[in-house]
Amino acid sequence: MTKKILILLLILIPIKANALIEVDITRGNLNPLPLAVSPLSIDEESRKGFEKILKKENIGSEISNIVENNLRTSGLFNPLDKKAFLQAPDIANLKPRFEDWNLIKAQALITGKVNYVDDKLRVEFRLWDVLAAKEMMALAFTTVPNNWRRVGHIISDKVYERLTGEKGYFDTRIIYVSEEGPKTQRIKKLAIMDQDGANNKFLTLGNELVLTPRFNPASQMVTYLSYFKNMPRVYLLDIETGTQEVVGDFPGMTFAPRFSPDGKKIIMSFAKDGKSDIYTMDLENRIVEKITNHPSIDTSPSYSPDGKYITFNSDRSGYQQIYVMKNDGSDVKRISFGNGLYGTPVWSPRGDLIAFTKLHKGKFYIGVMRTDGSGERLLTENYYQEAPSWSPNGRVLIFYRETKTNSKGEGFTAKLWSIDLTGYNERQIKTPTDASDPSWSSLLSN
């Protein structure tokens, strides 16, 4: 329903200016780019119109706050304090006085305007290069007023893309498992929220255990594990309609599901007689294929973005290690050879890296390696953390971490965290309850 609502109605001035500003996101960015997000200007009539519908006093400021927050949390930008701004929002949007913005050391400036037109929200924004005194980009959107947060995310994505040369990841959602109660009787529910933690919604009631939800990269479908009727099985959930169905007809536990990159297949493990093998099921014709056939535990499969390869976790060497094979199960190669155990491999949407969880000497690490196993880099170390999931642009990982709530090591709390591929910019993502097993959606609008 919501995914098609936002229509990009017109592109005002598509510009390919030679920008002086450029943000390099391939290495840890210790000097985030200073930029000014001027509040979107709004006339009094429009302001009142939106206040009535959205219960927000000034929707222009609210949208620019979203942009500011997104850009700040990316770690690549340093939005400057609005109190230092010299130029009023409406005038800045017409013609910025670049000397004023230069004075407060802003290198880029975002301005814009909000209008209430025919019960719709019309937003235009501009990105300016302050040093070159040039407009870099100008876009306008028209949508239903309720989509105002998404407008903020889309503006953030456009700015990110224009300044870094790579797609953004702000107009996205996270599906995860909400956790409550004592460890011995933990209650788990599927939950979904915007990438910035807003619009949190619970999708199941907590009557049965649910684990490992994952987005379809091609749509807003989700696959996950549910203990419905005490039978652990892989399910498919349409988050727009709420429809659920069990995947396949297996005489035992199916688990560790993920979609193929085109969204047409589910790949998962099926456990029987003490061995777990990897299977796929085609969602159109329901044909099930067995991909691995080994007495070991083969689990946590994840496709390469071109669909030609699969990385997975196996203990066929004696302990948990990461393997890569062709999508028909042939040509199995072990790729992890460092000290410790390796699990939860996930192929980057860019194709070049595999993220994983590593256990070594009582510590858990989130790391990345090249797809041939070379260049292993550990990004973060903790007492317990696992299950990395990639942002759609392959620049950020989200995972979950359990920390002890007191110094005696008693009690615990589980939270979602994100970290840049560079190992910098680690931050917690706020959730109303404890949380685990995050999965990042693809961009809702392209």
């Binding site: 011995t184 490992t212 456990a271 003490g274 203990d315 948990q320 615990f412």
Partner: protein, 163 residues
Amino acid sequence: MRLNKILKNTLLVLTACLVLSACATKKEVATDIQGQMQGDVYTGTDTVEYLADGVPDRVFFATNESILTTASRETLRAQAAWLRKNPSINVVLEGHADERGTREYNLALGERRANAAKDYLMTYGISSDRITVLSYGKERPVDSGSNPLAWSKNRRSVTVKAN
């Protein structure tokens, strides 16, 4: 803390001894916490429940292992004898792992542990029709602690009556 735990254990075992006509666990009374593990396999009775007199409901495993220890095989032989005497009873074998592993691997490991118990029951004449295997991975620990003893109690396969 530790004294408390010892007292609690002793009390539990004593209660168990009072209830049971044949007290198979008498020697545990004298052991301390260290004595509750052999290697890293739990040998205590803190969490153990009984399907019938002298028939413990669970077996324990070493880290990352699904091999049955001598004590586990003894427990499972007692379960098999009890199941043979009660042919109308079916069971679910619930396999579990400790928290020191990744979730999906642990689901598979729990399944493998429960199957090790199932295989052993089958070699003692119990039909596979009477046994269902269910893995909880690390989702349902009995001990919420984060220490080697707690983890050893959680690496288990528990035989539960299904009817």
